[in-house]
Subunit: 493 residues, 2 copies
Amino acid sequence: MDRSDNLPFVVSSTHESPTEMPRYLMLAEALRAAMQDGRLPAGARLASVREAAKQRQVSLNTVLAAYRHLESRGLIEARPQSGYYVRAQLAAPPLPTATVPESEAQPADLVVLNQIAAVLAANQRQDHIDLSLACPKGGDFYPGAKLGKLVHELTRRKPELLTDYCLPPGPLLLRQEICRHAHSLGMELDPAQICLTNGCMEALQLALRAVTRPGDTVGLESPTYFNLLPLLDRLGLKAVEIPTHPETGLAVDAVELLLQEKRLQAIVAMPNVHNPLGCCMPLAAKQRLARLVNDYRVPLIEDALYAELQFDMPLAPAVKAFDRDGWVLVCASYTKTLAPGFRIGWIEAGRFSRDVADLKFCSSVAQPALLAEATGLFLQMGGYEQHLRRLRRLYAAQLDRLRGLLADHFPVGTRATAPQGGFLLWVELPEGCDSALLFRQALQHKISIMPGTLYSPSGRYNRHIRLSGCYPFSERHIKALLQLGELTNKQLG
Amino acid sequence: MDRSDNLPFVVSSTHESPTEMPRYLMLAEALRAAMQDGRLPAGARLASVREAAKQRQVSLNTVLAAYRHLESRGLIEARPQSGYYVRAQLAAPPLPTATVPESEAQPADLVVLNQIAAVLAANQRQDHIDLSLACPKGGDFYPGAKLGKLVHELTRRKPELLTDYCLPPGPLLLRQEICRHAHSLGMELDPAQICLTNGCMEALQLALRAVTRPGDTVGLESPTYFNLLPLLDRLGLKAVEIPTHPETGLAVDAVELLLQEKRLQAIVAMPNVHNPLGCCMPLAAKQRLARLVNDYRVPLIEDALYAELQFDMPLAPAVKAFDRDGWVLVCASYTKTLAPGFRIGWIEAGRFSRDVADLKFCSSVAQPALLAEATGLFLQMGGYEQHLRRLRRLYAAQLDRLRGLLADHFPVGTRATAPQGGFLLWVELPEGCDSALLFRQALQHKISIMPGTLYSPSGRYNRHIRLSGCYPFSERHIKALLQLGELTNKQLG
């Protein structure tokens, strides 16, 4: 009996494997074919495991293995309490063409700041739709009730957290918990070396000020986190763009060349869940990068802000995990992972730890103890990993939804990253599009996006935009995306 | 009937005024004489108004007027629910001898930072007595219960304050309340120009970064707030010490000379309740200073951290109140006045407002909205002025107690400031004392003080120490002060 008509996928035979291929792989291949020819479009729900096993007369394990195989390839994804869904498959942006680093450039301070100011101003309006910022408004995504309860308990149990000046180094509990959780990224850190900061941005700022002098040159990924550009500019630092692959991250060959030529006084990189690319560097590349910066004694500022939002478990380690002599300064925060409103960041600055602690003291002294203590308690209570697992699934689903909408409503030739974590999407628009123009057009429609030009000191990436999936998608978000697609199509005439 | 034996003061006659001097002034003069010859020592309680009126057979108003007269001269002080007390009268430090500014010096970064690190490390120990830091541990002094209630209400009413990223410029309510309360210091500010910061220290840091470039020279008061020295050093700035009078503050003549000679690119000053001197500049000097920096177009960074803790009402205005063209950047926080644990600071940067907002964004982005909103609510509710009135009385009493203990237990020749606000005392030890040595000796006895050498880039003031009265005095504090007196006496052999 052939029941393939009833099935969302077709395999040649459900009873007998015609080749030596394991049965689960056959099933997976058939599903992949169905996805490619459109019988299983992006967003479609697959049959439940039980249902599929019954229909195909295979074991539950065979179906599960097939689904897991497809999941590991990023082709489908599990959504909690709902089942497996086909993920949108957009082509990845092409490899960067530049293999030799650009000459130094002064970061384009004002351009970046003016556009950020426009986005921030737009966000003050109620009717504005923000598709740009990586700033979660996460009533549904973050454990607000639990955090609120902890804060309340603390104000009663330790009222001195309100009335006492919080001296550095800040609550020991939080610093201990930061170190305990850093194990999941392969890092062995010492609570005494953790400096609490006002979000990850202050950690990056202190790190840069600790390891550079005005006139120094800093290696940046291309594209890079936009806020580094005005920061470098204000610190009197020059930038070198280092090619960065949308799937494998920072080009370590290029780093080695620059180090050999003694052209860098520091490097800033996001080896795990890059902003804006969403990629993670392969393990061997991380190990090599750690070796290089230790051999050449050039500090690497590792931005691990999104590292815990990697979709795959176990988490790939940080470069800091392979730091030999303390040349890696690792920066992170709980802003994207746990409590967007708390601004609890931290840095472990390796051999620069004392320097960074001194700089923190004469730059902003200390962090509010109440929020630091509440964060420490949450981390200690053991619900953090569970929360992260849920958050990763939610963000993976959000990104998939975003990719699906792009595939359906944006011009042919639009490409997008397939992020390995986080909630950001880097989109390449077809030849002929102008993302700086699109940014201005979208603002007129009360929609904000990030134009790609903000992501490099040379202002390249004018066919790219960064979209953020950190807001629960409402009808208004979807309408805004369709409108954005329309504007893009219009640009192509 | 002469009842003077029963009285804590002696007047020539209680019934008839022998001269044309008003009766209340006669009473006041008699009291002053009793204080000078030791019959009324520092700390003694005066008879209650009712008691004194009955004993002296004068009207309640006469006694009240006499007490108020002595209070206005700083000779006695009212303590709530307790009565009037004699304030300790120590000689003020002599005028600074230098009238011409010193040549530029690179601030002594490491010396300062090492000593601060020693103080911070000592503060981690339970058995340590801190007489050094201006970091209130204020269970009795600050409205912890009320603040805790506001925080709790907010976590329930606006849970998004926990889970939403707090974008700049931050809660409007707080910025409005900051401007409303700035009226008490004569300032007309615009909420749109207020940038929230991580305490006053970040405000100072952003201000300095906004108005200077590495290599620039900054005019500092001498003595000055110690944490400015490592900050200037890290920013590659040079410092010029400007003579600062213990009673009238910054020497404006010297400022004018430096401006004429074009030797300054910026000035940092505390015109109201100076740290460490506790003095306020006279009104005319403030007006002249404002005129000068506007005429010469050199930014003045006004540190108004303690300005609301002036003991006398109405508050003397800020220099910012006389700013003509936006050359004054005013920095403050609620750390010393309302919520030491919150780290809610702010800056209104005049013509540099946009610059400072940009710098804040690429330096630490934003402040935690929950604590900012709670502070805004407290300020709106109207209990702030009442709290400040109580806090001023408490700190005035603390300082007086401190001065009394110094007078009784420190070597003859010890001088101290008579602060016009705040909780800091600047003490000059007799010739032959070494405050850097005293600092180390005190640390061995688990007591921390601030050595005077930290308060100038040239390391002068080695006969000075700064003591802090921001902790409610316990038996342990008093024992520590006696021990400090003993150590000082020993130094003199």
